[in-house]
């Protein structure tokens, strides 16, 4: 009976603590409803700065998982919210395919993805406006250190994928695919296509259907190969027993682009705040945050706003002298 009483008191005590803190939290939430803050109206040609009293805005971003898993967005959110205290930055970390879908339904204000084809379609169909590439890194092919398919000696990504296919067919190798229509998954599929092989449906080809980190852990457990963006791999390399086996091929280049959702399609998206966020991404300050971001001693992203051409890519949508997005953002930045 004594133990029973004690348990009840302990339980009541914990519940009391919870209820008490709930009530206090409720009061804290009530403060900071509105604040005086500068904002700019970017309606086509007329970009002006105005000082207005406005309510807090929750900016919703659908981002590719790598920016979340590496912790970059957390750091970025802090500096951005310090500068624009009336904007609360929130994001859902999903694959690029799902991010684009969320954008197409108007459920988010901004998408950050890394698949050029998907992005181009998103923009040309009128869902996204003023997309701009702001950072890059590269993909790496990782696998078990014993490397059963002999990927390490291969020249370039196409040969590496061919070797995995052959080894897989002979039962020596397993490949774990994201299988979730993310940017990484789509890149992997196009690399298989370039190698001239089709692994879909093979027993050694496992579709995880999950994020990059889960896929890495599955690959680790199955002693399998997988394609991964370098940033996520660097963050996870101590947690898995996998090594980089193929890297450096130009086909591995991984570009990250931010695209605000078109306010003409969805009038209720926070378009101005999206533009503020993207201009902060490409501002010298934002580019410095991205370019110097390290985790466990490793630099994860490289910046490329305004010099994508030096990577051997010329995209007229972004780099046209007259109407390119790079020029648009430079003008926006010069006004602020």
């Amino acid at each position: 009976m004594e133990g029973y009483r004690l348990m009840l008191w302990l339980g009541s005590f914990i519940l009391g603590l919870i209820v008490g803190s709930l009530i206090s939290q409720f009061f804290i939430l009530k403060i900071h409803e509105t604040s005086l803050a500068p904002s700019f109206q970017a309606n086509g040609q007329n970009t002006t700065w105005t000082l207005t009293s406005r309510k807090h805005v929750v900016l919703r971003i659908a981002t590719t998982t790598s920016l979340d898993a590496t912790g970059l967005l957390d750091v970025f959110k802090k500096s951005f919210e310090d500068k624009y205290p009336w904007i609360k930055v929130t994001w859902v970390a999903v694959g690029s395919g799902q991010a684009v879908e969320l954008g197409k339904r108007g459920d988010v204000d901004l998408i950050i993805v890394h698949d050029r084809d998907l992005e181009d379609r998103f923009i040309s169909e009128g869902y996204g406006v003023h997309g701009v590439t702001f950072a890059y890194n590269d993909f790496v092919l990782v696998g078990p250190p014993e490397d059963p398919a002999g990927v390490k000696g291969s020249k370039g990504v196409v040969e590496a994928f061919k070797r995995i296919f052959q080894a897989g067919e002979q039962g020596w190798a397993i490949f774990v695919s994201r299988g979730d229509k993310s940017g990484t998954n789509l890149r992997e599929l196009s690399l298989w296509a370039m190698a001239g092989v089709d692994p879909s449906g093979k027993t050694w080809y496992k579709e995880a259907g999950q994020g990059m980190s889960q896929t890495l852990m599955i690959a680790d457990q199955l002693r399998a190969y997988t394609l991964c963006d370098r940033s996520t791999f660097l963050v996870f390399k101590d947690k898995v027993n996998l090594v980089i086996l193929s890297e450096g091929d130009p086909l591995y280049l991984n570009l990250y682009r931010a695209i605000p959702v078109n306010p003409k399609k969805f009038p209720n998206v926070h378009y101005n705040e999206s533009l503020l966020f993207v201009s902060f991404l490409v501002s010298p300050e934002g580019q410095k945050i991205i370019g110097t971001y390290t985790k466990e001693g490793a630099k994860l992203f490289n910046v490329c706003f305004g010099n994508l051409t030096s990577l051997g890519i010329y995209d007229p949508y972004e780099y046209d002298e007259e109407s390119g997005q790079v020029r648009f953002y430079r003008e926006l930045l010069s006004r602020s």
Binding site: M7, L8, L10, G11, S12, I14, L15, I18, S21, L22, Q25, V58, R60, A69, D74, K88, T90, W91, V92, A93, R105, G106, D107, V108, Q210, G211, S213, Q214, M217, F236, K239, F266, N268
Partner: protein, 218 residues
Amino acid sequence: MDIAELIQITLLSIQVSGVAVVLSSIIGVWLGAYIATSEFKLKKLTITLIDTLMGTPPVLLGLILYLVLSRSGPLGFLGVLFTPAAMIIAQFLLTLPIVTGLAISAVESLPRELREYIKSLALPAHYEVLLLINEARTGIISGVLAAFSRAVSEVGAVIIVGGNIRYYTRVLTTAIVYYTNSGEFDTVLWLGLVLTLVYFAINAVVLLLRYRMGERSD
């Protein structure tokens, strides 16, 4: 993850599930007792339907609710997707059939003589229902507790409509999913411990309530 974030996640979890279950209890208990006392044509079918809905897979509910609450969906103008409000709606819908169903069986399991006696008083319908709810309170409280357990431990619906946004819609269960995926297993164990403590606290208090009430009603 630091302590402050752990506390914030815990509070949000309780807040969301608590509000959802309070709302579903207000409606569900009343509805359940009313269904149990009244006689109508499709009563058996209604009860079967409620029992079926008790087992709704949370992910399915989450997906349907996502499509409804999406900006392109019928209730998109509300703009509640990816907010705590959406999670409350999801858990409200999830727990409503549970509270209703268990309220029905709690009232129906009352002694026949008692039910007939209350009926014979010829009170207005809502008085009769109130009296029955009072008599069946032990069973009804168990039902509410079961609903809360289901809500607070559910992950499928809240991760879809809430989006697992850090500091905003990340609750205990979605945080467990997130940190498992990131391989931070020690964080997951802490979250699991907190979730267990919350369970324990609520169970203990409900046990106390039932114990006290049981003494009085006997």
